[in-house]
Subunit: 248 residues, 4 copies
Amino acid sequence: MDAIGLPLRLLAEFVGTALLVAVVVGSGIAAAQLSPDDVGLQLLENSTATVFGLAVLILLFGPVSGAHFNPVVTAADWLLGRRAGTGITAHHLAAYLAAQVAGGISGAWLANLMFDRRVFEIATKDRITIGHLVGEVVATAGLIALIFGLARTGRAALSAAAVGAYIGAAYWFTSSTSFANPAIAVGRILSNTFAGIAPASVPGFVGAELLGGAVAVVAVLALYPRVTPATAAPPSAGGLELDLPRSP
Amino acid sequence: MDAIGLPLRLLAEFVGTALLVAVVVGSGIAAAQLSPDDVGLQLLENSTATVFGLAVLILLFGPVSGAHFNPVVTAADWLLGRRAGTGITAHHLAAYLAAQVAGGISGAWLANLMFDRRVFEIATKDRITIGHLVGEVVATAGLIALIFGLARTGRAALSAAAVGAYIGAAYWFTSSTSFANPAIAVGRILSNTFAGIAPASVPGFVGAELLGGAVAVVAVLALYPRVTPATAAPPSAGGLELDLPRSP
Amino acid sequence: MDAIGLPLRLLAEFVGTALLVAVVVGSGIAAAQLSPDDVGLQLLENSTATVFGLAVLILLFGPVSGAHFNPVVTAADWLLGRRAGTGITAHHLAAYLAAQVAGGISGAWLANLMFDRRVFEIATKDRITIGHLVGEVVATAGLIALIFGLARTGRAALSAAAVGAYIGAAYWFTSSTSFANPAIAVGRILSNTFAGIAPASVPGFVGAELLGGAVAVVAVLALYPRVTPATAAPPSAGGLELDLPRSP
Amino acid sequence: MDAIGLPLRLLAEFVGTALLVAVVVGSGIAAAQLSPDDVGLQLLENSTATVFGLAVLILLFGPVSGAHFNPVVTAADWLLGRRAGTGITAHHLAAYLAAQVAGGISGAWLANLMFDRRVFEIATKDRITIGHLVGEVVATAGLIALIFGLARTGRAALSAAAVGAYIGAAYWFTSSTSFANPAIAVGRILSNTFAGIAPASVPGFVGAELLGGAVAVVAVLALYPRVTPATAAPPSAGGLELDLPRSP
């Protein structure tokens, strides 16, 4: 049942996170180039592409690694899984986080390469305000609550569409445009574009995301207090993994 | 079967309605800031974010409280359920309405906080015209007919996507931009922005919404006259609740 | 099995077609008012609202009348059903068409009322070109082939989403913006707005739609030559009707 | 089980590819005409129409031919199917490719006819840059990996929605706007419009697409190494074909 080896899982997390950042950054570059006169239109183009891209990446990599692509998702899976006797192990946790951050960085480079930019650059866009940090707590709490709420109610098959839709709302209703993901925040440092974030803003964003994740774990335990065997998350997959016949 | 206690239900209605108003108001603020030159584009950004956000909130809170978020939905559940021997009780009805209105107010405050606005402000946007009131009757009638039409034909699992889609149309085809919800109308008083409504316009809007709800109840009884046990709404959930294993 | 009486079916066709025209015309009025500087943006707003609205109306009225809302759909159901021994009868056909056209007209009036326009007006927008007529043949052929193709392959449950999506493409890729429906074409005469059509253009459009419907019937018979009992359209519902327990 | 004859399959591939190019080119013409001031808005209109149109065409023609519409999909089906003892034969492969390219050309002509342009014209838009070629490798690799990843995990029923969504992201996040299809690239030569491509750019694009397809085949074999009988692609359909009762 847990027949997919760690190397293949890490490959899926690395490539998936890289492509997710390439979607976010790449569509941001395209939007800024093609719609120079209206920042809202740029964000609409960027958010629409991200909704579709994120949903597809979850479909594609979910059966392999659970399609976390996000250190807060992986950490929440570890925390919530410890209670249920399921969830990712501490050893896998560290490896997942490393693959996600490496993927985030690589994705920004890929976007720069595709759009004929210098591969290495550092963003200068400062994003820290009180409102943005509150927004980032809300954005991450909503994301984590959604993922584990669906898993604990036997509806993980809806995750791809629902998580895509969530981001389509959160780009707009949170003032921070909903990074909600430390690996993506790190990757976005390396793109001095519409979607970039200055290095000095990243620690604040990551702190807010971790706080949001903690809020979500409490909310999930309050709202969905008991998990039956049928709805428990499979080991190491955050509840996102499909039950598929696989070879060892 | 009705193992979810009232306090948890009320928490879900409060948080869900708050987040719904935060989505509506927050994305409205973002749209007005980022696309200052085209009000239609602002509404497209606002409606797109609302479609996604509403669908996700129904998925997230549906299994707990039925995800009403709307006094007209709760009242219709009570009315229609009395006939079928199901539906929310009068006692729960009052508690639901209070949680929804409190949520609506809190959501506007959260949006103001995220966007670095004063937390307390009052909208000045007058919205009363004959056309807007007719629009609000149509908008609410359609929403209520859709929710209970799906429930009575065994398709409540489609509610999240369908209700989101409905609002995506109703923002545009009704002249009132489809508030269709007294709790949201009250919440929007507290945001002097794109999505706000002056207090003097709220009684008219709420009256039109109640009238629309009454029209929908008649339409539902005409179009779907008999409910079988298999399609009856579960107690206190307006037909939206999934049949989930839950702890007491 | 055919327990839903004709009067209830006609009510559903009348109200459904009226609301469909109200969505098309109403969102067109809103778009033209709110985005005066870019006709493409107006069409994007109009098409997005129509995608959502049409899908929802099919969900809502499908179980009652089959949610045809379109004389070409009803006529194709009659033609294709005669071969299979199913389909709407000639008597019901005439009543459906009358309800649809009356609904189309009423929907334009409702939109005018909601947007504080004169209730009675006649469109002056001439739409006849060779390209538009070719576009209208293509648009209607695609619509009819999709509806009956889904029905004949046992996927009628996808009709609401698929027909909505189809119109979202057809508004753009056909030069005529895809009326694809004589009842809607007649209704649009009565709105001198973005979505209107001059009376002199209607016969050409209706002729092209009928030709498109004929092309689609041939294509459906070629592509899906045999219908099994499991996939045959239920009587009088064009394959769109769900199998629901109903009272007489 | 393989009861659908080759002629009907080729008809489906021809008409489906033609309509796909008509959607891409036609909506591009409409967008450029209606939104002359913002190229990003044009691309948003074009990509939205393509998302919807592609999903619908896969639904419509999938049960007949597998809805490849793309020589790289057909070639990958042949390559991957040889291992599993399934997949399209070399003889069918050549016929599919011919039908797809003929469809691509015809679709451009149809779009020109609908929009009252000269039927025969040659695009002058040069699209070759290093970034565009990298983008085209990424775009095609993602498309092929998605299609066969879904098929090998028993989720081919999601292909229509997922492939549509993928293109909605790839139009934006790849610098090449994601042609990802040699038959469409050839068809777009014949439209000197927004969506056109100069003949001199086509060999580079096709080469990049084939390279992307090869990358995807390797990725699919790595990520989904074993195929069970239940998830194997049916003969000649690339895993996209539904299991339908059909006549000989």
